[in-house]
Symmetry: C2
Subunit: 286 residues, 2 copies
Amino acid sequence: MHPPPPTITGRTRVFLILGDPVVQVRAPELFNALFRQHGVDAVLVPAQVAAADLLPFVRSVLKAGNIDGLWLTIPHKSAVLPLLDRVDALGRVAQAVNAVRRNADGTLEGALFDGIGFVKSLAAWGVPLAGQRALLVGVGGAGMAIATSLAERGIGQLALFDRDAARSTATAQRLRSAWPVDVQVAPSADPAGFDLVVNATPLGLQADDPLPFDVSRVDAGAAVVDILMKPRPTPLLLACRARGLRAWPGLQMMLRQAPEYLSFFGLQALAQAYDPEQARSLLPTE
Amino acid sequence: MHPPPPTITGRTRVFLILGDPVVQVRAPELFNALFRQHGVDAVLVPAQVAAADLLPFVRSVLKAGNIDGLWLTIPHKSAVLPLLDRVDALGRVAQAVNAVRRNADGTLEGALFDGIGFVKSLAAWGVPLAGQRALLVGVGGAGMAIATSLAERGIGQLALFDRDAARSTATAQRLRSAWPVDVQVAPSADPAGFDLVVNATPLGLQADDPLPFDVSRVDAGAAVVDILMKPRPTPLLLACRARGLRAWPGLQMMLRQAPEYLSFFGLQALAQAYDPEQARSLLPTE
């Protein structure tokens, strides 16, 4: 059920979501439905901005008096950092942000929510963090955000694997210098011996992709998360469920970070009222 | 009656209307209703852009792949000209545009519609142009657009009055060099002897404003247009109607230029189907 139509007027506050491509983003559907539902006179619209155009675009649009902030998606999450006056701790460590707002004093502030969505999903599924051993396979943008939040929340042990070994090494160093956490570089993607195994690679998007790790080697009591949202279910989830493992897709990570955006943009009442299951029903094809 | 709610997705085409202030604009209500009604996946959103920020803003936003064009209102109609590769004849003469689009080859093109809305309103009211004598009081932005369209359509005689005499003189010269039309500078705002008298000054917006000209001196058969839309009716319209003169407000000028925007942005089917009376009903407070 959709709430009544919004009327965009000259008084409407505007947010933009920047990506390249941008056709795949779901945030306008989700957030505009929330705005309508709560009578917030705001709208989130997509903007397909090429990497080379990002900085002048951001600089210009955030000068507009009624454009209050930006959502950032690939490839802009890190590239926007040079423009920001302030970045939250997660964003500073991960060197990436999901959102940028213009503060009352005109400064630009960014924050990272991807990892928060991930750890909130774990909590919702009853997957503990304290004392647990986690293997993260893939330390690209999403993997970095997840690693950062796991480290910040004090996971027992975090092992990073990436086919680019230099990337895992650099990430491990950065996390250790930010928080007192046991972060190691894993020599392989072997999931044996871990309580939590996370795929943060794109493996599974293409029909002929191999699985990101050997599911037969996952501990029987372990939890598996595949951050991919497509296909549904992903090949990794199918393989894990065939083995009777607890395994979840990335959708909740996306749904559970929504209130972070709402709070960040000053919409505390919407953040408080936010229900991820109801939000899921607002996305027509979910 | 409002059509069903739009869903803004990553595929939605985006238009912006730039002004400073921007709270007063009605175009988002009108055009978004038309888009919804015709199933066009597009949205028009406001952007409050200060004059000093205009050129970098326009340059940046029109690089976004899904931002197809801009509506311009005060104070940006003339200031945007330096960025444009092409401007239509009316815009070149008036040195102002209402809209800018990015063409397929990446060039930026502008066009002026205010005057077209005016002459289309005259046609709808049955006010002829050929051989007629018109007095235009006020040659600011709106007045200039009206003068340009009246000259281009071959009004019999056009007299311009502005309290800034240099402005009327310069405008008259510019119009005469563009079209073979009889354009004069009027020594006063005396409406006697004219078939059509147009107020394009802001006089009437403030409660204690004098009337822009002496209504008792208007010829009995003349037509009067007050481009102001507020208050309703304006003091000038009240005075004219009290004398039994035919007199109309500026709303139709705005409503009748809408299809020009639609055609300019490639939405020919919407332009064809456009009905100004139905459009008026789409504006909640009209």
